[in-house]
């Protein structure tokens, strides 16, 4: 047992190391250099040196949406659903937040609160739609979600170059910067918003608590693992599936808010930053455990922020970070599958104990 557990930690790590080094050597670079650059680009070198506040702030603000989306996905995964529609839910959250930021004028704290609530509502509705398509329409959540992703993407593009375009120029580079009152409050001239970080940590703790200590979470888990048995126990299964999409959609919507009024401070077509899909990888790697989401999504955020300097300094494409993430997740799930196969082979029969 311990040996197989070791296998699936050591094996993937080795695979990642070997494949990344091989890739870099093939590209003609010193393998250590990109790693240093990623750290330097995201946290500074040495990490957290005095001039690195901006970088650290950015890294945290990338961590926020990835971690929020991951927290939401843990809920839908536990309910047995593949919420590929998470990208669309982030986008709709951002759009709703942008709408409030642009159109509503209110005292700052109230306005910020409103953008967050609006973002959560936008994502929630979009998630609920996927859930309704699934429970009432029988449309597989993967395709319903994907379709709604495309719709949301078209909608932002339309808004950015259409009704919300900058005066005179219609450009995909984004809308005008929102009124400063709507920005998520940040510290020390960086984009780091303690409020956003706080909400994220709270969300992760909330999801942990949901599955650790509440009836609702336990029932969600039951529905995700075995719908007929749950039904026979008297759990209204459809309502719980919808609930999972609502929770995930709301968290994704807040992630969208953080992107719109926190990081970019305007609406851009690629507002989701692909963080929804990235969060799926995070959750697979974290094996659905909430607290593991914190370091893994931070690692992923470091890669996302830090790898942008790769092309300038090393002429290596920033997508190296994405490759690293992909290899890591793929080799982890294959390692787990291999370990399970080995375990099944070593004891092919149940312990044989009867009665």
């Amino acid at each position: 047992m311990t040996r197989s557990r070791l296998n699936f930690i050591v094996l993937p790590a080795l695979v990642v190391l070997v494949s990344v080094v091989a890739l870099l050597l093939a590209a003609g670079t010193n393998p250590w250099e990109p790693i240093r650059l990623i750290i330097q680009g995201s946290l500074g070198w040495p990490p957290f040196e005095s001039g690195s506040a901006n970088k650290v702030g950015d890294t945290f603000m990338v961590w926020v949406p990835i971690a929020l989306a991951s927290a939401g996905l843990i809920v839908t995964f536990n309910a047995g659903m593949w919420n590929i529609g998470i990208e669309g839910q982030i986008i709709m959250g951002a759009i709703a937040a942008a709408l409030v930021a642009r159109e509503v004028s209110a005292p700052r704290p109230l306005l910020v609160l409103l953008t967050i609530v609006a973002g959560a509502a936008g994502g929630l509705l979009w998630g609920l739609l996927v859930g309704i398509l699934r429970t009432a329409g029988g449309v597989n959540e993967i395709f319903g979600g994907l379709g709604l992703d495309f719709v949301a993407l078209s909608l932002t593009t339309y808004l950015v170059i259409g009704p919300w375009k900058r005066p005179g120029v219609a450009s995909t580079s984004g809308t005008e910067i929102f009124p400063a009152d709507s920005f998520l409050p940040s510290v020390g001239g960086t984009r780091l918003s303690p409020l956003a970080v706080g909400i994220t940590l709270l969300a992760i703790a909330g999801v942990w608590l949901l599955f650790r200590g509440t009836m609702y979470g336990l029932k969600l888990k039951a529905v995700g693992r075995n719908r007929p048995s749950s039904f026979l126990m008297g759990i209204p299964t459809d309502r719980y599936l919808l609930g999972a999409f609502v929770i995930c959609g709301a968290l994704a919507g807040i992630a969208g808010t953080a992107q719109a009024t926190g990081f970019h401070q305007k609406l851009i077509p690629t507002i989701s930053g692909n963080y929804g899909f990235l969060a799926i990888l995070v959750v697979l790697l974290a094996r659905f455990r909430p607290f593991w989401v914190i370091p893994i999504s931070f690692f992923f955020a470091m890669i996302a922020v830090g790898s942008s300097s790769l092309s300038l300094r090393l002429n290596v494409d920033p997508s190296l970070g994405g490759v690293l993430q992909g290899v890591l997740v793929l080799s982890t799930i294959f390692g787990l599958g291999w370990a399970a196969l080995r375990a099944a082979r070593e004891s092919p029969v149940d312990d044989g104990e009867v009665g």
């Binding site: 078209s154 339309y158 170059i161 997508s319 993430q325």
Partner: protein
Amino acid sequence: MSGFINALVDMFDTATIASIVAGASALLFATMGETISEKAGVINLSVDGSMMLAALAGFVVALQTGSVWLGFPAAAAVGMAAALVVAFGSIRLSLNQVAVGFVLFALCTELSRFLGDSYVGRPGEAVPAWDIPGLSSIPFFGRVLFQHNLIVYLAYVTVVATYLFMYRTRRGLELQGVGERPEAAHARGIAVNRLRYLYTALGGALIGIGGAAFTLDLKLGWSDRPTRNLGWIVLAIVIFGGWHPLRAAFGVLLFGALQAFALNLVPEFPNLAQVLPSIPFPAMILVLVIVNWKALLRWLDRYPFLRAILRSDPPGAIGSRFEVS
């Protein structure tokens, strides 16, 4: 309103139709590949990524060797390798096909960006045009069907061949049997999992060729994620096509027509220039959503003829595992 009508009228222009016919090649290859794979019971969800990586492989090999024709086998090999990863993960390791497919999609996409970075904007090889002698001089049809290139012709040959193979040969019938009811196929002495490996690999190869058709013919050269979202459309069209090669091919052409229509609309609605080209993607998937709507299906059940046209059921054992005991 008149804008719509103008755009619609423009659709019946010979050049537009010819461009729809030619532009379908990449999607046709990939759709046939995914159809074969799913018909055997394995969902290869990695298409969007593996098609992209194969597109890069095809482009690079053609560039390095100077031969466009060597690009295609290279792309096929890459597509096949990705498909085999999905097959191995699901058949041998009992992993969730969706999980493996999705992660592989992400990995292949990033890998194509990483490896392709230095090729962005470099002029590459192109499939030479080749009019079919004789046929190409037929009025209208010659222009529409026979003034393209070998890859375009091959795409349509692949569609017909896939159809003939599935429905007119013994091996094709076995392929369908394996995806429909593996126990029954096993009872007849068919090696179910071996065939699943085989057809997933074959499907992957076609997906790869589809990628190469994009970079070596449709939109020459390499850019950041050139085939983005095409793979998801492939997955949708396979369902839309009811796992039938000819209907899926019709779906591809419909998608192409929608794209052409959207482009035609651009001059009429210039301020939507950025949005219109992306409309066919949600439109296609929404059609799929509607076609899958359970209430609609129940209604259709009362009209078997209509149902047969609008919808067919997935292979009985799609996405499931089969183990001999």
